[in-house]
Symmetry: C2
Subunit: 431 residues, 2 copies
C-alpha cells in the first residue's frame, strides 16, 4: 500500500520562494485544504511554504484524473476525495511536477497567494464524525481512575472502540470555543444536580482521519485496501468538559460533554505524504491477541503506525500580556495508537455501516506512556488534583477563559523532508 | 404554544375523493414528505387520503411565507423547515384552504397524484442523528437486566439521556435491512471473541423528531419556544443487534450495534397537526424531581406529552406464504416519554451545541408499563429466553432473515380527526 516515489525525494527543489529548509510545508507535503482567498469563494488549495495554490484555477495545467480532482475542489474537498486514492496520488504527482520544474513557473505563479491572504475553512462538509479510542495509554490512564487494578476493559484489545460524535459543531482552527453550561452530579448530601458553566473544561490531543472514497450501505471495506479510503489526516482537538461527562455518560456514553465544539487543523496531510513515516506499532505488545481476520492485513502490519510527533501548548491571557511564548504541556506521538487508521475504517464499515467522503474519524486522545506525553489536562493534572505550573506564575488544572490551546504535529526523520500539519488553535471564552 | 384553529375542525370536508372517513391522512393532517412522482425529481409533497400533492408546483396558488416554503421544497425538506414554525403553520393553513374550498379544486387537482405513482424518499438531508432514551419503562426494563433492585440510574430523572447516532445509514421505510456481522463476547472458556452474522437482531419502536429552525453554535434554545424548533415527527425503527452491543458498548456506548441501518417513515407529521393530542405526562410520577429551569416551561407543562398510539407487527416469510396478516407484537404510546420533544431540543442545545434543520432526534424505545406495550424483542422475549409464538406456528426470540417489521402510529380521540403517521417497514435479509 505504501509507495515511495519521486514526490518524496528530499533533494527535490521547489521554485516557490521560501519553501525550502525547515518548514511544515515543503513540496514533499502538498496537503489539501479549503480557503477563501481575498474574500472570494471557497476553493480547494494546496500549501507550499508560506503560499497557497488554488487547485481549480490551475486544473487546466493538469491532465487526466488529477485535472478532474482539481476541478472538483469547489465548496469543499468532498468531491475531490470521493475520486479515491489513485486520483489523489495523481494530483500530488502533477502538483509536485508543476512546483519543481522551472518551466511551469510562469504559468503557475499567478495562482500562488500569500497564506496571509487566505482564510482557511473546514476542509470537508462532514457527514458524520466518529471518535475512536485507539490511544491505549490514554485508555489505561482514564481506566485507572475507575479500576486501578485492571484499567483496560476486556474488549479493548479486540474491538477498536468508538462512538459517534457531533458533526455540526466541528470547526476549523482559530475560532473561539464557548464554555458550555450543563448539569453536574449533585453535591455531597444534595438531591439536585448543579447547573452552570463547566468548571472542568479540557482539551484532548487527537488526530482526525478523513474518509475519501466511501462504501455502500451493507458493503464492508476489506482491511486490505482500507487505507485507500483515507483522504488524509488533520490535527483534532476534541474539547471535553469532565464535570458534565461524569454525570451524563451512563449508560450511553458522552453526549453534551463533547458536542459543544471540536476543532480541526485546516490542512489535510495525505497518506502519500506520510508514506516515509510508516512504522511498526509499538502500542501493540508481545503476547497481545492477534486481531480477528477482518482487522488484520498481513501485507500492512509492521508498518501500520505513523511516526508523527504531536504537541500541545497553552497560552493564557496573562502569559500573552507578559510576552511569554506558549508553554508546551506535552509532546507525544501517533504511534500511541493501538489500532491503525486502516483498522478504524475497516472496523467502522465491518457491520455494513456506510462511510462517506468527508466523514471524520478521530483517533481518540493519544497519550504516550510517560507523563510528558499525556494528551489531556485530566491526565496531566491527575483529574484536577495536581495543578500545573505555568511560566507566568499561574497554575492550571483545567482551562480558564482566555486560555488558548495550540496543537502542532509533524513527521521528521533523517533522509526525509519534514512533513508538518500546521496548527490547531482555539481560545476559551465565556458565554 | 399549542394552537387549535380551523385546520383542526373535524367537520371540515375535503374535495379530494377518498380523503374522508377513517384514514391516516385526512385534511386535518397534511404531513410533509419527499417524493419522486412518475420517476421525476425529488419534490416536497403533502398527503391527502390516497393522493400526494406536490408543493413546489402549487406554490403559485399560495401567498407569503407559505408560498416561499412551498417553493423551497426541492431535493429535501431542509430549506422549507429552516423557515421555522410560523412559515410551516402558514403553509398548513393555505393547503387546508386549497383542499377544502371547492373553488380551488380546478387549479389544484392537476397536481394531485395517486400515492402509487410516488416513490417516497428520506424527507430530510440529515446532518446529525441523536438518539435519546426518554422511554422510562424501557430504561427500567433494560436496567433490570443489570441492576434488578435499582434499574434506573441516578441521573435518569434529571438528564434527558441521549447519545449520537449515525446519520449516513438512516433510510426511508421499505428497504431491505442487511443483517450485520460483528464481534461477540468470547464464549465461556474462550479467549477470542466470536465473529459472524448477528444472532440477536432486534427492532426498537421509537418516534423520530425532526428539527426545523436551528440554532447557532454557542446559543442555547430556551425551553419556552423550543417546540417551535420542531418541524414534525415520524416513526423511527432503531434496528439494534444485542450480541454486538453487549460486547462493544463499554465504556463509550453503542456503536456498530446500531449504526448499520435505521428506518424512518416517510411522512413528517407536524406539531400543529398533533396539537389536539397534547396531553399530561403520565410518565412523570408524583414526587419526581422538578426538572432544572432550563428544562422546565411552566406554560407548557401539563400538555407536553403526545397521545399517539404506536404499534409494531411482524410478518415472517412463512406467514406471508400461508396468507397470514402481519401479527401485532405490541402496542404502546408516546406518553411513555419521560422527557418531551421540546425538552429534548432544549437539553441538546443547552451546552451550545448547534442543531440544524433536518437533524433527527430519536425518542428512544417507547415501551409502556405492561408487556403488551413493550417496544423491542429484547424486552418481549426476556432477552431471548421466552420465545414468542406466531400464528404460523413459528416462534421468535430475535429476528430471522425474511422477517418484516411494520410499525404504525396514529392519534385518535372523540371529536377530532384521526391523525396517522402511516407505516415504517423493513425486511431482514442476509448479507
Amino acid at each position: 500500500m505504501s509507495m515511495i516515489d519521486f514526490t518524496h525525494d528530499p533533494a527535490a527543489r521547489c521554485w516557490v520562494p521560501g519553501a525550502q529548509g525547515h518548514c511544515d510545508f515543503p513540496v514533499q507535503n502538498l496537503p489539501l485544504g479549503m480557503a477563501s482567498i481575498d474574500g472570494g469563494a471557497s476553493l480547494g488549495v494546496t500549501r507550499i511554504g508560506d503560499h497557497v495554490l488554488s487547485l481549480p484555477t490551475i486544473a487546466g495545467l493538469m491532465t487526466g484524473k488529477a485535472q478532474e480532482a482539481a476541478r472538483d475542489a469547489m465548496g469543499s474537498l468532498n468531491d475531490l476525495a470521493a475520486r479515491g486514492g489513485d486520483a489523489m496520488r495523481d494530483l500530488r504527482r502533477q502538483l509536485f511536477t508543476l512546483l519543481t520544474q522551472e518551466d511551469h513557473r510562469e504559468r503557475v505563479e499567478p495562482h500562488l497567494h500569500p497564506v496571509a491572504d487566505a482564510v482557511m475553512e473546514l476542509p470537508f462538509r462532514i457527514g458524520d464524525y466518529t471518535d475512536f479510542y485507539t490511544g491505549i495509554h490514554h485508555a489505561e490512564n482514564i481506566g485507572r481512575f475507575f479500576r486501578p487494578e485492571n484499567p483496560l476493559l476486556p474488549n479493548y484489545k479486540h474491538v477498536p472502540i468508538g462512538y459517534h460524535g457531533r458533526a455540526s459543531s466541528v470547526r476549523v482552527s482559530g475560532g473561539d470555543v464557548i464554555r458550555p453550561y450543563g448539569q453536574t452530579r449533585p453535591a455531597e448530601g444534595e438531591d439536585m444536580p448543579g447547573y452552570g458553566p463547566s468548571a472542568r473544561l479540557d482539551y484532548e490531543l487527537e488526530m482526525g482521519v478523513w474518509v475519501g472514497e466511501g462504501n455502500a450501505l451493507g458493503q464492508p471495506v476489506p482491511i486490505a485496501g482500507a487505507g485507500r479510503h483515507i483522504a488524509g489526516i488533520s490535527i483534532l482537538n476534541d474539547w471535553s468538559v469532565r464535570d458534565l461527562q461524569a454525570w451524563e455518560y451512563q449508560p450511553l456514553g458522552p453526549f453534551l460533554a463533547k458536542n459543544f465544539h471540536s476543532t480541526v487543523s485546516p490542512w489535510v496531510v495525505t497518506m502519500d505524504a506520510l508514506a516515509p513515516f510508516r512504522t511498526a506499532q509499538p502500542a501493540r505488545a508481545e503476547g497481545d491477541p492477534k486481531p480477528l481476520p477482518y482487522l488484520w492485513d498481513d501485507a500492512d502490519q509492521g508498518e501500520g503506525a505513523l511516526a508523527v510527533t504531536m504537541e500541545v501548548l497553552i497560552s493564557t491571557a496573562a502569559m500573552r500580556d507578559a510576552g511569554h511564548a506558549p508553554h508546551r504541556l506535552s509532546s507525544g506521538s501517533m504511534t500511541a495508537m493501538y489500532w491503525t487508521a486502516a483498522q478504524m475504517v475497516a472496523h467502522h464499515a465491518s457491520n455494513g455501516c456506510d462511510l462517506n467522503p468527508g466523514d471524520l474519524l478521530g483517533t481518540g486522545t493519544l497519550s504516550g506512556k510517560n507523563e510528558t506525553s499525556w494528551g489531556s489536562l485530566m491526565e496531566l493534572s491527575a483529574n484536577g488534583t495536581k495543578p500545573i505550573a505555568l511560566p507566568s506564575g499561574e497554575t492550571r488544572t483545567f482551562l480558564e477563559d482566555g486560555d488558548e490551546i495550540v496543537m502542532r504535529a509533524f513527521a521528521e526523520k533523517e533522509g526525509c523532508a519534514r512533513i508538518g500539519f500546521g496548527e490547531c488553535r482555539g481560545v476559551i471564552v465565556g458565554r
